[in-house]
């Protein structure tokens, strides 16, 4: 183990391991304080960043944050590393890599940035993000191009998709339908119509899958559905012949965190194979969807790395992206304010984490979206989430999550609303996924100016959707 040091105000600061160096270089957040790995002072944080900046990127191929032998996520990361893709930046330090990325971003060199993904490890990307400011994360993130597809195309330039999340406390079909229609009339749902089921049972999951499939088929909507049940439940639904577009699972950055979620890499591979076999795509073959979030490993008590030391939550989050990318997802999103103030305390920490997660996910090759959200005991309000949604729109975020009126009446938290998606698209000149945009136009929901029309409930388009739903 290498002890790394620098001088600070005339005295020496030492970082006895890579785990501690990464943790102490992380911009302040409550979760790292809770884990006991945060920098003790603002100056120590910058000292760690200074040491980190001089670290060769290749160090992360030699020295681990979480051990290779005991963790299958680490093995996945190293065993699938693409040396050829890494070659263009293999000789750089972390600090030099940051500078190179900013230069490529300024030149608009999307291919140079995007081609790196298979050659980058989560730890390299996490380290680089720790040296970046929010604007750096935005400038580079928008140049990392990741395009995926199933029945709509996600991640094209100038597009912002949304997941329509029509949750209901009892999975009532009519209640779910009400939220689906409200979202569609607002131009939401091009990334996915995705329900968190109130009950994780195969029967309930199949019922919801059939409901969503009926809506999508009836109106010929170029999007996909998802019931965010546990992957084992989705496997059962697949066995029963249910119309599964996407296999969903929450994943974490350590083997232990994934054990806490009740999943293994083999299980995810099996489910993906099952969904691929159905061949339900029209424009692509990406059939998985993953959610992540800083703090999930700590909350599962599965956050320790080499030497039994706590790993910072942002590095662990990036490691979850290695799990996700192995399964060629259509969608991945971080749920950035859901877990509570003990992990991300206030609007500043939530915004920072959202931009980090988007940047790191994109650099690693993921179709990255964000659930911009908050709970009532966090120091966050709608002004904070407004700011983050617009920053993410500027950063080229693939998709955001939207619920009716910002109020998820099943999970009891606040996410963005359908009108927030309209506002972000309007302010930043962003458009829905192209196939979905064409459908909106066919349904007469799009004005000549490209905006989603404000329809009276008795307008023909609204009436057609509503009448069918309530018949």
């Amino acid at each position: 183990m290498t002890i790394r040091r620098t001088t600070l105000g005339g005295h020496t600061v030492e970082f006895p391991s890579l785990v501690e160096l990464m943790a102490k270089a992380t911009p302040a957040r409550s979760g790292d304080v809770l884990a006991g790995c945060a920098a003790e002072s603002a100056a120590e944080r910058v000292a760690a960043q200074t040491v980190l900046a001089d670290l060769p990127l290749a160090t992360f191929l030699e020295e681990q944050v979480v051990g290779y032998e005991e963790d299958d996520v680490t093995r996945l990361i190293l065993d699938t590393h693409d040396a050829a893709a890494f070659a263009p930046v293999a000789s750089l330090t972390v600090g030099e890599f940051r500078d190179r990325l900013l230069a490529w971003a300024a030149e608009g060199d999307e291919p140079a940035i995007s081609a790196l993904a298979p050659g980058l490890t989560p730890e390299m990307v996490a380290a680089t993000s720790k040296l970046m400011r929010n604007a750096d994360l935005i400038a580079v993130g928008r140049r990392a191009r990741v395009v995926t597809g199933l029945r709509s195309t996600i991640g094209l330039p100038g597009r912002l998709a949304s997941r329509l999340q029509p949750n209901h406390p009892t999975d009532d079909p009519l209640g779910v339908t009400a939220s689906v229609l409200d979202g569609l009339l607002h131009g939401s749902g091009d990334a996915v119509i995705g329900i968190n089921p109130a009950t994780d049972s195969p029967a309930q999951t199949i019922a919801l899958l059939e409901l969503l499939d009926a809506v999508i088929s009836r109106y010929g909507i170029p999007t996909q559905s998802c019931v965010l049940a546990h992957v084992t439940t989705t496997l059962r639904a697949l066995e029963k012949g249910a119309p599964v577009d996407l296999v969903f699972q929450s994943v974490g950055g350590t083997q232990g965190a994934n054990r806490g979620f009740g999943v293994t890499l083999d299980l995810l591979a099996e489910a993906r194979a099952g969904a691929l076999e159905l061949g339900r795509g029209t424009v692509g073959r990406n059939v998985t969807y993953f959610e992540t979030g800083q703090g999930s490993a700590l909350s599962a008590g599965a956050h320790l790395g080499v030497g039994g030391r706590p790993v910072d939550q942002q590095t662990l989050e990036c490691r979850a992206y290695a799990v996700a990318r192995h399964f060629e997802p259509l969608l991945v999103n971080t749920v950035v304010g859901f877990i509570g103030p003990e992990y991300l305390y206030d609007g500043k920490q939530v915004a920072r984490a959202g931009l980090e997660d988007h940047f790191c996910g994109k650099l690693l090759g993921l179709p990255m979206g964000v659930d911009v959200c908050y709970t009532n005991h966090a120091e966050v309000d709608a002004d904070d989430t407004d700011a983050l949604m617009l920053l993410l729109g500027a950063a080229g975020c693939s998709f955001v999550i939207a619920v009716p009126g910002s109020d998820d009446v099943m999970l009891h938290y606040q996410s963005l609303s359908f009108s927030d998606v309209l506002t972000t698209r309007q302010v930043l000149g962003l458009r829905p996924a192209p196939e979905f945009e064409a459908w909106l136009a066919r349904m007469d929901l799009l004005g000549d100016d490209g905006r989603v029309r404000e329809l009276a409930p008795d307008a023909p388009a609204a009436r057609a959707l509503l009448a069918a739903a309530t018949s």
Partner: protein
């Protein structure tokens, strides 16, 4: 000539509490709807940040001993960021080791307002159903998590502890009280070793009598089983 057609939205609105069909002001929300949402959030925020008022709770409880304690979390901000501190008693805390059967803790949790509104009513209903249980003086706990009941129960030397705690406020429920039962409380107990009765908030949620009946039934079951948690099922709560 005109035909009256039913508003399809009326049917759909009736099927969900979700905020559907709010209308638009440009791409944003109409003022009325915006203010409705703000009020719901403000009420929830206030519920989190209202300080527990010991005098008011004592007055509502009527006669009887009440002991006040604090967790190791110094203030609300630390409480929200350090759940570990909210599960430990402040240094130097002393409690009488009464050796009674049962300890009852009123904990502010994430909604002191829930304690103000519902704890006295639930305690009264519970006392009526505790024949055969000796009860230690009530403990009123500031900046407390559910796990603080383990430290309090161990100090009191009771066989079981019931923590009545303010639950995380939602947009439409800022005053929800939860009751957590732990048999043989001691620091280090995990959530799987507890039983919970949630959403006590009449008239919208569970009523005091119903909640007290369930808690008393769980207590009797725990005494028989010698344990609480996943092994203990609430038979009384089953229909029939």
């Amino acid at each position: 000539m005109s035909t009256v057609e039913p508003d399809p939205w009326a049917v759909l609105r009736g099927a969900t509490r979700a905020r559907v069909a709010l209308g638009r002001a440009g791409d944003g929300l109409p003022t009325t709807r915006e203010l409705e949402f703000r009020l719901a959030h403000a009420v929830a925020r206030d519920a989190v940040h209202t300080a527990l008022d010991p005098a008011a709770v004592r007055a509502a409880l009527g006669d009887g001993d009440v002991v006040e304690v604090r967790s190791a979390a110094a203030d609300r901000a630390e409480y929200l960021q350090r759940p570990d501190l909210g599960r430990r008693l402040a240094e130097g805390t002393e409690l009488p080791a009464t050796g009674d059967d049962l300890g009852i803790v009123l904990a502010d949790g994430l909604s002191p307002r829930a304690v103000h509104d519902h704890a006295p009513g639930l305690v009264a209903a519970l006392r009526e159903r505790l024949d055969g249980w000796s009860v230690a003086p009530l403990v009123l706990a500031h900046q407390a998590r559910v796990g603080l009941g383990d430290a309090i129960g161990a100090a009191l030397g009771v066989r079981a502890v019931v923590v009545l705690i303010g639950e995380r406020p939602g947009l439409s429920s800022a005053d929800s009280l939860g009751a957590y039962l732990t048999w043989e409380p001691r620091p280090g107990r995990v959530d799987a070793e507890r039983n919970c009765v949630s959403n006590v908030r009449p008239p919208h949620g569970l009523g005091y009598d119903q909640a007290a009946r369930t808690v008393a039934s769980l207590l009797a079951g725990a005494r028989e089983l010698g344990a609480s948690g996943v092994a203990l099922k609430d038979e009384a709560a089953l229909p029939g």
